[in-house]
């Protein structure tokens, strides 16, 4: 059940947030940091952001667009969307299972 996001090791978490942010539309680095802070409550540090971005680019999961001055926007590729879909589906299954077991455990004295 290893997805192309899981193979990113310690960058899998930031990569999931980046792909989820780009699923809404193209963004540049600093806009990604702000958006991720809003929906995940985590402020990504610039070094970690670019560590994950470079790996996502190498994996073909995102691609650069025409730069806007010194800012470089990125967008999701079809492979990136598929990888995110697969990764989140697995995460949802795990979350559902965990919650079901937790509520069953809490119901049993």
């Amino acid at each position: 059940m290893t997805s192309s996001i899981d193979v990113l090791g310690r960058y899998a978490g930031p990569a999931t947030w980046i792909l989820s942010s780009l699923a809404e539309g193209p963004k540049h680095g600093y806009a990604l940091i702000n958006d991720i802070e809003q929906f995940a409550g985590v402020r990504l540090q610039p070094g970690t952001l670019y560590g994950a971005l470079t790996r996502l680019l190498e994996g073909g999961l995102i691609e650069p667009m025409d730069s806007e001055g010194r800012r470089q926007p990125y967008r999701l590729t079809a492979d990136g969307a598929a990888a995110l879909q697969a990764h989140l589906s697995v995460q949802r299954q795990i979350a559902d299972l965990g919650l079901r077991r937790l509520s069953a455990g809490l119901a049993t004295p």
Binding site: H28, G29, Y30, I33, R43, Q45, P46, G47, T48, L49, Y50, G51, T54, S67, R70, R71, Q72
Partner: protein, 193 residues
Amino acid sequence: MSADLPTIYSKAFERWGWKCVPVIVACWIVLWPAGVVWLAVSLVALYRARDRSEQAQAERRIARMLSWYPPHWRARYGEEFSEVLRETIRSGQGGRRLTLNVARESNAAWWQSATGRRGLRAVWCWSLCWLPLVTQGLVPLIIKLSGGTARSWFLALYLPAGLQWPVIAFMLIAGLVMLAVAVRGTPALRQAG
């Protein structure tokens, strides 16, 4: 001049092989007082000439952090990454955590390719080889041979008499190995660019 020293050492190694290593070490021993004076004078001049405005300080910090990344990485992502750093500092999030994060991630960027790994090893060995070779190897060796009693911060001289020579020898060998790794890895350092 000091920035070109690794190039000089690398070329010397290519031409004369291992024979150049004792010559390099001898040059260090003879020239280090002049080097220290030159470094002090340069640092004072640099400090006096610098712009102390907040913006200039931020730009210097960004340039410094960017310089920790491999040259090819800087060429590809340098401009946009600088902009993100600039906006992060401007938003008041540019504390020590940012420096530590960039230090960790720049190290990871070097580690991503085999050439980068060799280059990074060379950087570490250039930075640290003098510790075992000179301060923990050659200096205690000279103190022992001259019959001195000062122990200062020389590890070997705090050990029992029977262990002092083996530790000095180990430090000398470790320092020479690190110097060799540094000299051999310097072309990879340039290749990483």
